[in-house]
C-alpha cells in the first residue's frame, strides 16, 4: 500500500483571497480543458474564444443582447439565492416567474389607458404580489406542516405552467387575443400597447432594460439586508445553525414564510420584466422553453447565494447563452457548446471545495487520522456551546 494519504481538511479560516483565486484558477482550468476539447474536435481554441467575446460583447448590439439574456437570470438567481441562503429550497422560481408574467400582463392590459409610469409600476407590483402569493403556498406548507418545499415548489411549477397554457390555449380569457389574424391561426396573448412597454436606458450604443436596473438595485438591497439588518442576521443564523436559532427564540415559521414571500416576489418581478421589457405579451411557450427558473438555480450556486455575486454569475450565464447561440452551426455542433458550458460550470462549482477545504497530501504511517473532534458534536455539548460554535463558523 502506498504510504501517501490525500485528505481534505476544513480550512481554519476562510480568507477573501481564497475566494478570489480559487474561482479564477477554476476558470483558467476550464478554458484549458475546453481548449483541449476544442482542439481535439478540430476547432481553434483561440479563434473560438475570440468569437465568444465578439458574440457577447463587441459585435454591434451584442452587449445589449447579452443584457437581455442576463436580466431574467438575475431575478431567478436572486430568488434562489435568498431562499437557499436560509436553506429553504425554493425550486419554484420557474412557476413564480410565470405567475408574475400572468399578473403583469393582466395588469398592463387592464390599466392600459392610464399614464405609462402608473402602468409600469402597477405591472411591477402585480408581478411581485403574484409571485409572492404563489410562493406562499409551499412556504406555508413548509412552515406549518413541515412539508418538503423542494417537492411542493417544484410541482407548483407545473401547475403554473398549465395555468398559463389554459389562459392562452384553452379558454377565452382576458389575456387571450381572439381577433388578430395570427391569433386565429395559433392561440396567442394580447400584446400590450405602448403604455405597458417598459422604458430602457441607452448608454452609448448599449440599451439597458429597466428590469435589469431594477434587478441590480434589488441585488444591492438584498445584500444589505442580509449583511446589515436584524432580519438578515436571523436569516443567516437559521440557515447556518437552525438549532441555535431555535434556542435563541427566533420565530422560524414566520421567517420561512417571509423568505418564501420575498423569494417569490423577486421571481415574480422577473416575470413582470419579461412582459414589460421584452415580450409585451403573455407567452406561455416562450417562457416554458426559456426555463429561467431552473437556470436561476445554477446562477445562485455559482454566486454562492450572495446577491452581489449573483449579478456577475447571471451576466456570465448571459454571456454563455448568447455565445452558445453564436457559435453553434453546421461546423460547431450544439453539443459542443453545451460541453464547454458544462466544463466551465463544473470547474467553478467544483472548485468550491478548495475554498472551504485544504488539500493535504502527506505520508501516512497508519490508518487515516480521525476526524477533528469539533466536527462531530457529541450529545454532551450544551445547546449554548453548539450555538456559539456554529456562530463562530458563521462569522468566519
Amino acid at each position: 500500500m502506498i504510504p501517501i494519504s490525500v485528505r481534505f481538511e476544513p480550512r481554519e479560516r476562510l480568507s477573501r483571497w481564497t475566494n478570489v483565486w480559487v474561482p479564477f484558477f477554476a476558470i483558467v482550468l476550464a478554458l484549458v480543458i475546453a481548449g483541449i476539447v476544442l482542439a481535439v474536435s478540430g476547432h481553434n481554441p483561440i479563434t473560438t474564444y475570440q468569437q465568444i467575446i465578439e458574440a457577447a460583447f463587441t459585435q454591434p448590439g451584442a452587449f445589449t443582447q447579452t443584457l437581455v439574456s442576463t436580466t431574467p437570470l438575475l431575478y431567478t438567481g436572486l430568488a434562489a439565492s435568498i431562499a437557499f441562503r436560509m436553506r429553504i429550497w425554493n425550486i419554484g422560481a420557474e412557476g413564480q416567474l410565470y405567475l408574475g408574467s400572468i399578473a403583469a400582463a393582466g395588469v398592463g392590459l387592464y390599466l392600459q389607458n392610464l399614464p405609462a409610469p402608473v402602468v409600469v409600476i402597477a405591472m411591477m407590483a402585480g408581478g411581485a404580489v403574484a409571485g409572492s402569493l404563489w410562493a406562499a403556498i409551499p412556504g406555508a406548507l413548509r412552515a406549518y406542516l413541515n412539508t418538503n418545499e423542494i417537492l411542493t415548489s417544484l410541482f407548483l411549477n407545473y401547475i403554473a405552467d398549465y395555468l398559463m397554457y389554459y389562459l392562452i390555449f384553452d379558454s377565452t380569457s382576458f389575456w387571450r387575443d381572439l381577433t388578430s389574424p395570427a391569433a386565429r391561426v395559433f392561440p396567442q396573448g394580447k400584446f400590450l400597447p405602448a403604455s405597458g412597454n417598459w422604458p430602457a436606458l441607452s448608454i452609448g450604443s448599449v440599451t439597458v432594460p429597466l428590469g435589469l436596473i431594477l434587478a441590480i438595485v434589488l441585488a444591492g438591497l438584498l445584500w444589505g439586508m442580509i449583511r446589515g439588518t436584524r432580519y438578515g442576521f436571523e436569516m443567516r443564523v437559521m440557515g447556518d445553525a437552525p438549532r441555535a436559532a431555535k434556542h435563541a427564540g427566533m420565530n422560524i415559521r414566520r421567517k420561512i414564510l417571509s423568505i418564501m414571500l420575498l423569494s417569490g416576489a423577486v421571481a415574480g418581478l422577473g416575470g413582470a420584466s419579461q412582459v414589460g421589457d421584452f415580450r409585451h405579451v403573455l407567452d406561455p411557450r416562450g417562457l416554458e422553453q426559456a426555463q429561467f427558473g431552473y437556470t436561476g438555480i445554477v446562477v445562485a450556486a455559482l454566486a454562492r447565494y450572495n446577491p452581489i455575486s449573483a449579478v456577475v454569475a447571471a451576466l456570465g450565464i448571459g454571456v454563455l447563452t448568447n455565445a452558445g447561440l453564436a457559435l453553434q452551426g453546421p461546423n460547431f455542433p450544439i453539443g459542443l457548446t453545451g460541453t464547454m458550458e458544462g466544463i466551465l460550470l463544473f470547474c467553478v462549482l467544483g472548485s468550491e471545495i478548495f475554498v472551504r477545504y485544504r488539500l493535504r497530501i502527506g505520508r501516512t504511517s497508519g490508518p487515516v487520522a480521525p476526524r477533528r473532534a469539533e466536527a462531530a458534536p457529541g450529545p454532551a455539548r450544551t445547546a449554548a456551546e453548539i450555538a456559539s460554535t456554529e456562530r463562530r463558523e458563521l462569522a468566519s
Binding site: F169, F186, R285
Partner: protein
Amino acid sequence: MRKRSMKRLGAFVAAFTAAGVLAACGSTNAGNTTTTGGSTPAGQWTTSHPFKVAWIYVGAKSDAGWTHQHDLGRQAVQNAFGGRVETLYKENVPEGPQVTTTIDQLVNDGANMIFATSFGFQPYVVAAAKKYPNVIFEQATGTDVGKNLAEYGGAGEDGDYLAGMAAGYATHNGKIGFVAPYAIPEVIREIDSYTMGARLVHPGATVKVVWTNSWFNPAAERQAAQSLVASGVDVLGDGVDDPTVGEVAASAGIKWTGYDSNQNQYAPSAYLTNTIYDWGPYYVRDVRTAMEGTWQSHFYYGNMTDGTITIAPFGSSVSEAAKTAILAKAAEFKKGTFNQFTGPVYKQDGSVGIASGETIPIWNASDPSTLSRYTLSWFSEGVIGSAKG
C-alpha cells in the same frame, strides 16, 4: 403554426451529463459537403463569395420530426448550389427575445436570407424584417408578409387523409384513436382529414381524440395512447413529433400511423404510413430566386402537387388493396382533382360544416374571419372528442 416544445433542461444543467455529446463533435456536417453545383445559374455568387442562408430551429435537428425535416431541406439547398451557398443554422432557439439575438448575430455574420421555422418566432421576425430591409426573411406557417418577409407552410392534412385511409383499412372494429398535440386549426384540420380518409374506406369508423397540449411530451403521449388502447381502439394515429405512440401500439399488438418524417423504424410491426414534409424543393426554389435577385414576397402553401407533402413508404402489414386505393387517392391529390374540404362536409354533430360543392380557401388574409383551412376549428363527423382541447 408549428412550434416545438422541446423541454430544454437548462442547457447548462444538462451539460453536466453530456460527456457522451463529445461523440457528436466527430459527426460530419452538411455545411462542409460541397458537391458540384450543377448547372444552376444563380446570380453573382461564387465559392469565394457565397450566398449565406440561415435557418433558425426551435428544436434540435435530431428530433426525428419537424426540425429534422427542415434540416433535410437545408441540406438539399447546400447540395443544389454547392460552394456558391453557405448554409447556417441555429437549433434549440427559444421563442422570445433570443430570436432577435440570433438574427442580429446571423446578419452580423453576413446572412443574406433567413428562414424561421417556428410560428412563435413571428413577432421577432416581423421586427427584424423592418430592421434589416436588405435581408430576405421567410417565416414558416405564419401569417404576416412584408416586402422582404414571406410566409410558407404545407398541407400536412392532405397526407393525413391518406394515412387515415390506411388506418381505415387496418381497423377491424372501426375504432381508431388519435393522440393530438394542441387544439389549434392546424391539428384540427389534420384530424378531420384523417377521419374523412378513414371513413372513406371504412364507413362508420370513428376517431377518438386525446390531447397532450405539447408537440413533444413522450410521457403524456404514452398515457394518452394507453388510455385509447384501454378504450378498445385497434389503430392509433398521432400528430405529435416523436414515435412514442407507435411503441404503445406495437406492444398492444395494434396498428399505427406516425407523423412528420418516416417513422417506420421505431415500431415496424405496427407501422402503416404517415405524412412527410419535404421542404427541399421549396427551399431550393426560393434560395435560387433570392440568389438571382428575382425573389418576391409571397404566401406559400405547399402540397402533394409540388412535392412538399408526401407519404412515407408503407409498412409491411398494409394490404395490397389498401396500397392501391391510397396511391390512387394520392394521384388525385397530386393532380389537384381532389380536395377533402370541398362540401358536403358534416360537423361532429351532424350539421353541415361546408355546404355541398363549396371549397374553403387555405387562408383569407384580407378577411381572416372567413372559414378557411387556417381557421377551421370544428371536428368533422366521426371524430369523438372536443375540438376545444
